[in-house]
């Protein structure tokens, strides 16, 4: 597993470096630290959301409700800030995370215990969660002037040249790496997605693993909901509309197999970074934003084609000469 994934990630990383260098040669401002820091801040939510989505996709699932979850959790955090301005900042963030977690548990419960396909469940909850924003906010939006000062200031704080969302994304990435590589539950996610029947024979409970995956996805969406709302200074029902597709795209570009069981933290981060660069570089290069979608779409297709070719089963070695070569290789 390792050799192959490393090769893929290396290739993607190389494409990124070459691409960034090319853009920098054309527009040196792109390589200014300020711009890079901005890019990372801008992409930090995508990093985390893509990692969370990867965990779900590993189990052969999909979570289309993440953007709606982000918007609803962000709204809850914003409302807490508006109506209880004296609440400590940490609790406001926690309000967003817990809301996200609960929404994720709802997805997980419907999928694991009622056996409804993930795409159907999360398509449904996507609409429900968006609708709930309008209901709880009475159709209104929460503006910057209505949110607390500390609430909005936090995402703009800088430490060692990087903003707090970037540091949070770094922390979350490390947690994901540890979770996926060093814990039984993390290994279980790969097993369930790789071969559900075999996992069952090994005593791994698929329902528990699914609950876990969708809870993680929800909680991360909740955290990102706070960051999004606080950074842009507005909460309303339409924020991050369609963002779930960007998140899934980052996973696919990063080598996460939609068929489940395959994906890595490094690959997914690179996939997200790729989309982040495409989105920030195109304006710098004065390319119309209309091209953004076409370019990221083409990249997704290319990634899928490369994956499909790489996933092809090794052919049987029946010819004696082929067997000889195979033996040398092994």
């Amino acid at each position: 597993m390792k050799g192959f994934v490393n090769y893929r990630e290396l290739a993607l990383g190389l494409i990124l470096v070459v691409g960034v260098a090319a853009i920098g040669a054309y527009q040196p401002v792109f390589l200014a630290w300020e711009n890079i820091s901005d890019l990372l801040t801008e992409t930090s939510v995508l990093f985390m959301m893509a990692l969370a989505q990867m965990v779900v996709i590993l189990t052969r699932g999909i979570d289309l409700s993440v953007a709606a979850n982000l918007a609803l959790s962000g709204m809850i955090a914003a409302l807490v800030s508006q109506y209880y301005p004296d609440t400590p900042l940490l609790l406001m963030i926690l309000a967003g995370v817990i809301t996200g977690l609960v929404l994720g548990l709802i997805n997980g419960g419907l999928i694991a215990f009622l056996g409804i396909p993930p795409i159907v469940v999360t398509l449904g909850t996507l609409a429900v969660y968006r609708g709930m924003i309008i209901i709880i906010a009475g159709g209104d939006q929460v503006n910057a002037s209505e949110m607390g000062a500390a609430f909005q200031a936090f995402p703009k704080q800088v430490l060692l040249g990087l903003t707090s969302p970037v540091w949070i994304a770094i922390g979350v990435s490390i947690l994901f790496w540890v979770f996926l590589n060093l814990t039984r539950a993390g290994r279980g996610l790969y097993a369930v997605g790789g071969n559900p029947v075999a996992a069952r024979y090994c005593g791994i409970d698929q329902k528990k693993q699914e609950m876990l995956a969708y809870s993680i996805s929800g909680a991360v969406a909740g955290l990102c909901g706070y960051l999004w709302v606080a950074r842009y200074g507005v909460a309303y029902s339409e924020i991050a509309n369609g963002y779930e597709l960007t998140v899934i795209a980052a996973c696919v570009i990063g080598g996460v197999s939609i068929g489940g069981g395959v994906g890595s933290v490094a690959g997914t981060l690179l996939g997200a970074l790729f989309l982040g660069i495409v989105m920030t570089a195109l304006p710098v290069l004065q390319i119309s934003p209309f091209w953004q979608m076409a370019i990221s779409g083409a990249v997704i297709l290319a990634a899928v084609v490369i994956n499909a070719r790489a996933e092809k089963r090794p052919e049987k070695l029946i010819l004696p000469e082929a067997r000889r070569i195979g033996r040398v290789r092994a």
Binding site: M1, F4, Y190, R200, S257
Partner: protein
């Protein structure tokens, strides 16, 4: 005797490492039912697949109505008037009965669009001919297995099939449904069609067949009118070879009782399965395909719920509700289909080997890679897994090496009892010997082994004791040295008394 409808002469078929059929000749007469019998793996299904155009024979010829035919697809076989009714119905659950009957040859009007009224009308006529009151517009998934068979027969009639092949059609039918099916078979006979009837059940064969063809290891070992043989003779023909000398059996001292199973039952698949298993003992679990052996062992392992019965290990009663309970207690189950049920191809060798008892590799809070690597290395070497390194993705290994990794996974749990479900199914002769030797080694190491196998030589070569299951129950038990192949097959097919 009239001219045969279909003849096979000198037909052979090989797969890599396996000779499936060798020089088979047979002829099917109009208005007669020919039973094809043989052990699992004797070549019955291969014949069906050649007759229906799924496989092409390596040698030999097929003649239909005297004319030589080359079937390059199932469609050619249909066109030649050969239709098959399969063990598990191969039809479309979400489509209507009429659509299923006319799949591939739906009536069209001058518009070239499907003529639904015509299709329904013809379907109703066909179903009426076989006395099957099934509305043509019903979706197939609403029907019982027996009714689905009737739809398949109607489909065969819609092609004006002259040869109808029935591959274990009664496997999932109740007694009444079997009576109905046989009435239709009689009717097809009366209409002058030739019928190939494949079944394991001797009572059915003697009831419905006119002629028989007996296969063993891909060769024809007997044929003739069914009235010319007895059940005992057929059993002897099926088994045929001397089986005791095939595998050298290791001499292992048998110890105390490890596993004790009492009255294990489930509502529909098996009932009152009871046995004791001792340290160092290999217990063969023999029976025909579908006798409930796998199902009972899956119940034991916690894969499926058990409705009644107890399982004790070392005298302590267990409460097994999931595979993790069974693994924790010291029971391992190596499933039959190791590709689908055992191997996780997207993960590395190490991750596969440690998966069934990951908790053992946790040091402090986290999994310890060195501990995992150590276990993988020692088991990988013991089983002689060929791989570039222990992190290699399982999907990159050969099938035989994948199987070894799956077995390593179960040995890593350090079980006291290991259930091996058809451990040599689909592997070539050379690997088989290695697996057999390894099973002997397991027993020598003090494991108690349950060996589910449909291959009699394997069971008789390895087991200290054989339990025979038939229709979900244990019907007989034999001790090493006090058994004969005829007795065991007799017990499994229900021809016990005549054979003994």
């Amino acid at each position: 005797m009239s001219d045969p409808i279909l003849t096979l002469s000198g037909v052979s078929k090989s797969f890599p490492g396996v000779r499936a059929l060798h020089d088979i000749s047979l002829s099917l007469q109009p208005g007669r039912v020919t039973a094809v019998i043989g052990e699992n793996g004797a070549g019955k299904s291969t014949i069906v697949k050649i007759l229906t155009g799924i496989y092409r024979p390596d040698a030999g010829e097929i003649r239909v109505g005297g004319e030589q035919k080359h079937f390059s697809s199932p469609r050619d076989a249909w066109a030649a008037g050969i239709a098959a009714i399969h063990q598990e119905t191969v039809m479309f659950d979400e489509l209507s009965v009429a659509e299923n009957i006319f799949t591939g040859h739906m009536p069209t009007g001058s518009t070239r669009l499907v003529d639904w009224a015509e299709m329904r009308k013809k379907s109703a006529e066909l179903l009426k001919r076989i006395d099957a009151p099934i509305p043509p517009e019903f979706k197939l998934k609403r029907l019982s297995v027996a009714q689905k068979h009737l739809v398949e027969i109607a489909r065969a009639l819609s092609h004006e099939a002259r040869v109808v092949i029935m591959d274990e059609p009664t496997a999932a039918l109740s007694a009444n449904e079997i009576d109905d099916l046989f009435r239709i078979v009689e009717q097809l006979k009366a209409e002058g069609r030739a019928i190939v009837f494949i079944s394991h059940k001797f009572d059915e064969i003697f009831r419905i067949a006119d002629d028989f063809v007996c296969l063993r290891d891909g060769e024809k070992v007997g044929e003739g009118p069914i009235s010319s043989v007895t059940e005992a003779q057929l059993v002897r023909m099926m088994v045929g070879r001397p089986v005791d000398q095939v595998f050298p059996k290791r001499d292992v001292p048998i110890g105390e009782v490890v596993l004790s199973v009492k009255n294990l039952s489930n509502a529909t698949e098996y009932a009152d399965v009871s046995f004791d298993l001792r340290r160092g003992e290999i217990l063969g679990l023999y029976g025909l395909v579908g006798a409930g052996r796998t199902e009972a062992m899956q119940g034991l392992f916690g894969i499926t719920p058990v409705t009644r019965g107890t399982v004790s290990l070392d005298g302590r009663q267990l409460s097994i509700h999931s595979p993790s309970d069974a693994i924790a207690a010291g029971i391992s189950y190596v499933p039959e289909d190791r590709q689908d049920q055992g191997a996780i191809l997207s993960l590395g060798i190490r991750e596969n080997v440690t998966l069934a008892n990951l908790s053992k590799y946790v040091r402090g809070l986290f999994l310890s890679r060195p501990a995992e690597q150590e276990a993988t290395r020692s088991l990988g070497r013991r089983l002689a897994v060929k791989a570039a390194n222990w992190e290699q993705r399982l999907g990159e290994l050969s099938g035989g090496n994948q199987q070894k990794v799956v077995i390593a996974k179960w040995l890593a749990t350090r079980p006291k009892v290991i259930v091996l479900d058809e451990p040599t199914k689909g592997i070539d002769v050379g690997s088989k010997a290695a697996v057999h030797d390894f099973i002997g080694e397991l027993a020598q190491d003090g494991l108690a082994v349950v060996l589910i196998s449909s291959e009699l030589p394997e069971v008789m070569g390895l087991a200290d004791r054989v339990i025979v299951m038939k229709e979900g129950r244990i019907v007989d038990e034999f001790k090493r040295g006090a058994w004969s192949a005829e007795q065991i097959v007799g017990a499994a097919t229900g021809a016990a008394k005549e054979a003994a």
